[in-house]
Amino acid sequence: MLEILLSASAMIAVGILIRFFAMNWLPKRIFVVIWGLVSVRLLVPFSFPVTFDVWQLLNLPALRTGVTPGVVGGPYVPFQLPWPDVVPPSAVVEQVALSWTVVITGVWVVGSVLLALYLVATHYRFRRKMRTSLPVEHAYITAFCLKHKLRRSICIRQSDQIRSPLTYGVLRPTILLPAGMDFEDEEKLSYVLTHELIHVKRFDYVWKLVFAAVLCIYWFNPLVWLMYVLANRDIELSCDEAVLKRFGQKVRAAYGLTLLDMAERKRTLSFVGSGFSKHMVAERIRVLTKAKRKSVVGAVVALALVIGAMTAFAASPDGPVHERTDRAQSHFNIPGAPLEVDADDSGIQYSPADILNDLTVRDELVTEVREGFPSPEADNANETAYDVDVEDADPASPPEEAPDTEEPTPPEPDPETEASRTTAPVSEGFPYPDPAHRTQTFTRLSASEFETLVVNANGRYGIHGLESFMERASWSAEANYGARADASEFEFYLIELRDKLWVTYEDAVWVTTNLAQVNLRGGMLTQMNIGTINHGPA
């Protein structure tokens, strides 16, 4: 418990520092990812007390000698209830300590419940009010809906009880526009709708709920409050950024004016609906004016720092922090919720955090990407300069594994994948740009490389792996940004691809095909043959 608090606090602190010092040099999305990571870290241990007994029954008894699954409570220090008839007279000191524990736990639970009730009540009232919204009948809105079809049908409605646009809903996302908005001003309308659409696509509403949940549980931690505020801001900033990427930097001024216009109307009603709120707009416009060329290296370093902060506190099962928390936890042992299990007196401790860290996907993914695409030193024959700077700047990455000089690992034997391979097989000698034609330091991802990565990441790691992967891929797209006119389009497709992949594999193939076409148009591929894929700069 303490361990989780420490590592999460450290992550938040590092995140805040990075945000403070490098705000304008980093893609804003990275902060949302950071806050998301921290939140998951904070939330996941809480499901363990519930599932842990099952886990134990299935696996751990085998490690333990002389303990039958039925008496799992055996090896733990049993929780002594602080009542006189239970506690022997000799244990007075312990009783005092334990009653303090009870008081603290009580305060914590009451605080959590009160905060949760408040947030739920506020939100419920808001949603109830929003249910009386009216449909919008306007040619532009209808056209927008038709143009941006998602798997979930988007509802665009209006209400005279709000003053600025907002979005809510998960399965049936609703974009709510204030009544009296000028539906003839199509430029402004397109910015507003695109902004809200990106919220929908990114499930920002869900993330806001997650952040609120974290706040309810960790209300006593001031850093978590800070994170809550910053996370909500960063969701907006990252969304603004995506809008600008979509429309191009030239609309910056017009978009800024739209923000101002929306802000003048009023602040939003709910803590969770994604929308334009007044006090944030100043910051958002400031950020718009300061947007700089984003640094790939910076993004990697930032993420590495945060993950480093997490692992430094959590991923060392025999490190000093862990031992310290062992002792601290002996006061907090509650029956049915063992945090530490000493398997067989061998001194090996299994904590939920350890199990969790075993499953940390990111490092594996980094290795995966490298195995799939040999590093420059490893593969002289192909002489690729694949993401050189990224490789160099990633201090948290695991050591290079034995370089794979053959063609990259093909995707897992998923039948669907195999099917797609038959239509677009990866040729022998994976297609890297011909060194003679290479002009850029960054070798960009080609469509086929990209597809292999996507298939691998999706098949092996599911959503989380893919998320990590997409971050990486979008950095590559960042690298593209300066070089190619169509880079923003490329990136837009990346974002779309990520969202689509949350649903099915077929969609991924579909978007990847689109991606290849965009690449082709952008001159990234001069030639794309389905059988043999060749490419090089135009």
Binding site: R131, L134, C155, Q158
Partner: protein, 119 residues
């Protein structure tokens, strides 16, 4: 009848003005088709209208009767608008409407008749 009506409430009133007295159930059905409200949502809005005194409940099957006419609401809203934007002077409003070229000759003719009628 100084009630300030929201768009949602006006939507309910609008049906009552057009169709006449309607049961709550029927209102819910119509609004469900028109604007996609659930039954509960419609009932909530009707309840708000009853609280504001613009709808009267009659009989056992919750027959809704409008206690305010469309003209009353129009006049009320128009007055509010004139007060807010034209410092309460109607002539400025008319001048503004005429200046913005939004009036057809026929409409101007109607306006003239209206003014003559007043004098």
């Amino acid at each position: 009848m100084k009630a300030q009506l929201f768009d949602s409430e006006l939507k309910v009133m609008d049906i009552l003005w057009r169709v006449g007295d309607t049961t709550a159930k029927e209102l819910a059905r119509m609004l469900g088709e028109q604007v996609g409200w659930s039954k509960t949502t419609t009932y909530t809005v009707i309840k708000k209208c009853v609280d504001k005194g613009v709808i009267e409940r009659r009989g056992t099957d919750f027959l809704c009767h409008a206690r305010i006419s469309k003209n009353e609401v129009r006049e009320q809203e128009a007055k509010k608008f004139v007060d807010k934007m034209f410092d309460g002077s109607t002539d400025l409003l008319v001048a503004s409407l005429i200046n913005s070229n939004k009036m057809s000759p026929e409409q101007l003719q109607n306006l003239r008749k209206l003014l003559e009628g007043l004098e």
